[in-house]
């Protein structure tokens, strides 16, 4: 192998070595105390915001039921309450319905006047 054959390889090695050396002098930013304090202030802001938000996860943590903190679980709970109310309302007994009707009539502001009119007409 001649010197000329070796030259390109040596030159490539030199180029690599030079590049590595040059890359090693690149400046490195170091965080100062003020910057660290800024990062911690960001944490404080986020913590305050989290504390001021009353969420289901708070109750979930308290009762140890993590599933409640998921949005789907919360909506399911709400839907369950509504469905129970609807079913309970629909399955009211006839006696209850009469009571409700009487109560509704009692709350009707024109009830007394109607009764008076009816009585007067009868007389």
């Amino acid at each position: 192998m001649t010197m000329f054959d070796q030259e390109p390889e040596t030159s490539a090695d030199n180029a690599d070595a030079r590049l590595d050396a040059l890359l090693s002098i690149a400046p490195r930013l170091e965080p100062d105390d003020a910057f660290r304090a800024e990062l911690l202030a960001g944490f404080d802001v986020r913590s305050r915001r989290a504390r001021s938000r009353i969420s289901l996860s708070l109750f979930a943590d308290a009762f140890g039921w993590r599933g409640l903190s998921r949005p789907v679980a919360a909506f399911s709970l709400l839907a369950g309450v509504c469905a129970t109310g609807f079913v309970a309302g629909a399955s009211a007994t006839p006696g209850d319905r009469e009571t409700y009707a009487a109560l509704a009539e009692a709350f009707d502001q024109s009830f007394d006047l109607n009764v008076e009119n009816a009585n007067w007409a009868e007389e």
């Binding site: 030079r18 040059l22 890359l23 170091e30 911690l40 944490f43 989290a50």
Partner: protein
């Protein structure tokens, strides 16, 4: 056991519950590397600090529901920081497209002056800044942050082969732009 001896995962869980000491320990442990990464991608202290701040804010937001998914916290932080830097680079390009290429150093100026280290740094900055974004991030992660190619691939969410290809192209471009410099410029770094 002190905070510094705690694992990242334990510290995140505590930070997620509002533990300030744990957050401080995470900042002390990871902010130097995150800031260095951002600085080497953006070449601008203010921009790098903004990107690092954004990265840590995302960490606090995710701390309460943090789940280790195979990736280390460091890798996750690098990924978020790289994306934050990407966004800033794109914004810069939109705002001042002509400045992105930088002043190409051709070795002509300052031939007779004494070349200081600052000049070499500047030359390197310009050469790195001229690289496409992903090549720059690959060089920064592998060379400066000393991540393995596998870790860099995880950080950049690409394959190891793609990282290797980016590095090879970056080194070729850097050699072309830097090795054209005058001998005097490179003398001090041999």
């Amino acid at each position: 056991m002190t905070d510094d001896e705690d694992s990242d995962e334990a510290l995140i869980v505590r930070a997620g519950r509002g533990d300030r000491l744990a957050a401080g320990a995470l900042i002390a442990r990871h902010s130097p590397k995150v800031l260095a990464l951002c600085g080497r991608i953006l070449f601008d202290r203010a921009g790098a600090e903004d990107a690092a701040q954004e990265t840590f804010l995302k960490l606090w937001e995710n701390a309460a529901r943090w789940k280790p998914q195979g990736a280390r916290l460091e890798t996750w932080l690098y990924r978020v920081a790289s994306n934050a830097c990407f966004d800033r680079l794109r914004r810069r390009k939109r705002e001042a497209p002509e400045e992105e290429a930088g002043d190409v150093i051709d070795g002509a100026p300052a031939a007779d002056e004494e070349i200081a280290e600052n000049d070499r740094r500047r030359a390197l900055e310009v050469a790195l800044a001229a690289l496409p974004e992903r090549q720059r991030i690959a060089v920064t992660l592998c060379h400066y942050q000393e991540l393995s190619n596998i870790e860099a691939a995880q950080t950049m969410e690409i394959s190891v082969e793609a990282v290797e290809s980016l590095l090879a192209r970056a080194r070729r471009s850097l050699k072309e732009s830097l090795l054209g410099l005058k001998e005097e410029l490179l003398e001090g770094v041999r």
